[in-house]
Symmetry: C2
Subunit: 415 residues, 2 copies
């Protein structure tokens, strides 16, 4: 992609209203624009990041047998009344049609997925079943000031599974937890699985996947020696400085974290609400156990920026970066340099590498290099009078630049 044609723009300064790093940097570097608090447009750069994260999630969900569907955003109120959430949920957006019909906007999809699954599940032979979708969700938040960490509209993957019994659910949960850890690992994130209560969804214990970040809204207590971690809003048994109740190996530390994923053991709540039953071996009807598994895709994008940045800009992990190479032509009026940069661009593109090519003619070298740092693509490749036939390659997360041939650069990118 030629930068001169890209529908994106860096700003000299971050918007003054932005309170969090992700909001500041994502706007300044041209990945998003705020439409209103908690609602954003994603530019081509931003959409590429969302798609990269979505694809990593999709592959891992398919690996654990999840099947992708697309459920709607507009839900009839009857479904939400059937589970009681219509009156109980504070953050549910409600709409009236011009003829007085009442709808809810998807906050999550238990109310649409359970009646759907009911059509398919008639006996234990139909279990386990696991389906997911990736779609916008909506929450009527009172406050939405954390950039894309807490949206009124946000992109989410939500998966739902049904099981013959608790043991089967727990076995599947273990599989999904491992998939979640692989997803966050591929994104360079270390997520701690906390125990927390199930919120409005369930009385059972649930699990949150928390990434430590000052911009997060979840206060947690964790042990640095083992995997013990709890959300303090829920579970108040211990306090900072207490000895770890799991391994006794360290004192508990307090930190703020962002919940990038969660798992709820929904038990039979929704099976009962929608009378989803199967016969047991005696022919008596039983209610399958249901689980749900969320990952906030836009939030994860925000967390990546909170975790991976420096004073000059974003430092994307390769797996989520909008492009792999940021090619900078410093040509001035030297046509030979432009020609060489064009050649590098064409060769890299031909090799299947995603390149953002800063081909702008009227922009000075310093501004181009500053933009490259701000945007945060993993490899910066400079072609100038000084580099001649070579390319000056610098990784965004390293300080030293190296001169290398195009062939060597291609080799580096393939490794």
């Amino acid at each position: 992609m030629q930068y001169s044609k890209l529908f994106s723009k860096t700003l000299k300064t971050a918007p003054s209203s932005a309170e969090t790093v992700n909001h500041k940097l994502l706007v300044q570097a041209g990945f998003v624009r705020q439409v209103m608090a908690g609602v954003y447009t994603y530019t081509p750069l931003g959409l590429r990041v969302l798609n990269k994260i979505s694809q990593i999630i999709r592959e891992e969900m398919n690996n654990v047998g999840g099947q992708e569907v697309l459920m709607p955003i507009l839900h009839p109120s009857a479904l939400w009344k059937q589970t009681g959430a219509w009156d109980k949920s504070d953050v549910l957006f409600k709409i009236k049609s011009r003829t007085g019909r009442e709808y809810a906007l998807a906050q999550s999809n238990e109310e649409t997925v359970t009646p759907l699954a009911k059509e398919w599940i008639h006996s234990k032979n139909d279990l386990p079943l696991s389906i997911y979708h990736i779609n916008a969700k909506f929450r009527d938040e009172l406050r939405s000031k954390s950039g894309i960490l807490r949206g009124r509209e946000f992109l989410m993957k939500d998966m739902y599974s049904w099981h013959e019994n608790q043991a089967d659910f727990e076995q599947y949960y273990t599989k999904v937890k491992a998939a979640y850890m692989r997803i966050f690992g591929k994104l360079g994130l270390t997520a701690k699985a906390t125990e927390a209560s199930g919120g409005g969804f369930s009385d059972k214990i649930s699990y949150e996947f928390e990434v430590l970040t000052d911009a997060g809204e979840a206060p947690i207590l964790y042990c640095s020696k083992c995997d013990y971690c709890v959300n303090v809003d829920d579970i108040k048994t211990y306090k900072e400085g207490d000895s770890c109740p799991k391994c006794s190996g360290d004192k508990l530390k307090a930190a703020m974290a962002s919940e990038v994923g969660n798992v709820f053991d929904l038990g039979t709540k929704y099976s009962k609400a929608f009378e989803l039953t199967i016969p047991n071996s005696k022919g008596e009807k039983i209610y399958p156990i249901m689980g749900c598994y969320g990952i906030g895709i836009s939030r994860t994008m925000g967390v990546l920026v909170e975790k991976f940045h420096d004073e000059r800009g974003i430092i994307w992990p390769e797996s989520a970066a909008p492009f792999k190479v940021h090619l900078v032509a410093i040509a001035g009026k030297n046509e030979a340099v432009t020609k060489q940069a064009d050649k590098v661009y064409n060769e890299l593109t031909k090799a299947g590498i995603e390149v953002l090519y800063d081909d702008r003619e009227s922009v000075m070298a310093g501004a181009k290099l500053a933009d490259a740092d701000l945007i945060g693509i993993p490899y910066r490749a400079v072609v100038s009078e000084k580099t001649g036939e070579q390319i000056e390659v610098k990784k965004r997360n390293e300080t030293e630049a190296k001169l290398m041939s195009l062939e060597n650069f291609l080799q580096t990118l393939k490794n």
Copy 2:
């Protein structure tokens, strides 16, 4: 994909409430489920079709220089009040937050895209600019009984472009029209470009892309000898049987059609509403000309079913089919047949071909073949005792089956 594991199910009969062919067949064949009138869930089969159509559109929009973004669904009312559409649009869904903030649900995105473009467009050097997105849209329809042809929630591609002057817009429109014709052509559809009024969007002439189908809601008059076509709801100058005003070569025929795409010349309406200006050569401010270009993706899927079906089921064009091959194992208790079918499945999959493999053990041959016809995948491949090492291949739109080796089948699929 193994059919025994697929989250999809054919029904013996179509739902009695379904009035249109697409509604009947898409539900009966397991591509969609109705959540309420005008709102559907897409199963893995249905989502695959939506994705195929979206990808064809995406490639053609990129070809005409469109850049993909993602704009939100939840819009602040202020934007819609600024253009007057808040009070004028009958079909705009309006929401109030719990603190009394007013929002609109995306019906289209002129109100969000124009302020966005304004940030980028400062001079004629920034023009033309063309950006698009693929996202859900919402319309508060009084009646929504045509399956996925007319949704309260539906998937749409909407592109927007800005131009220095009318001539440049018209040049670009011609390009997009050609791209639209390629898109519909790839899907096997013949779309007629009609002239119609711009509805609420514009006083200028607009263009609709209509596919003739009895389930359509647009009455048109067309000439079979040239490309003359008008929407009768708008333009009432002529009537059925009149001589074609363009070529005089035939009498005008009346038909019903479904509008799968449209183009509006928005003139300076939105540029003026949001004060999007550039300086002309004298330094005076002028308003760029704006165009918008829609394609109903879910509607196009419905139109494909209306056009391509027979009494046994759907006949997908290859470009939109959920899978290329429907492999049917008729094995009974013969393990050699199962082994041979497994081998065919593995070899086809290894060759990168998308296969739906009906591996169900407890389903009779007749029911499997009926399901294959109902689902409508282009190539049916049967492995049975009778076929031995060979495969019985039949195209869904042909009557004759051919016995061939796996090698020959692979060759056929590649051609």
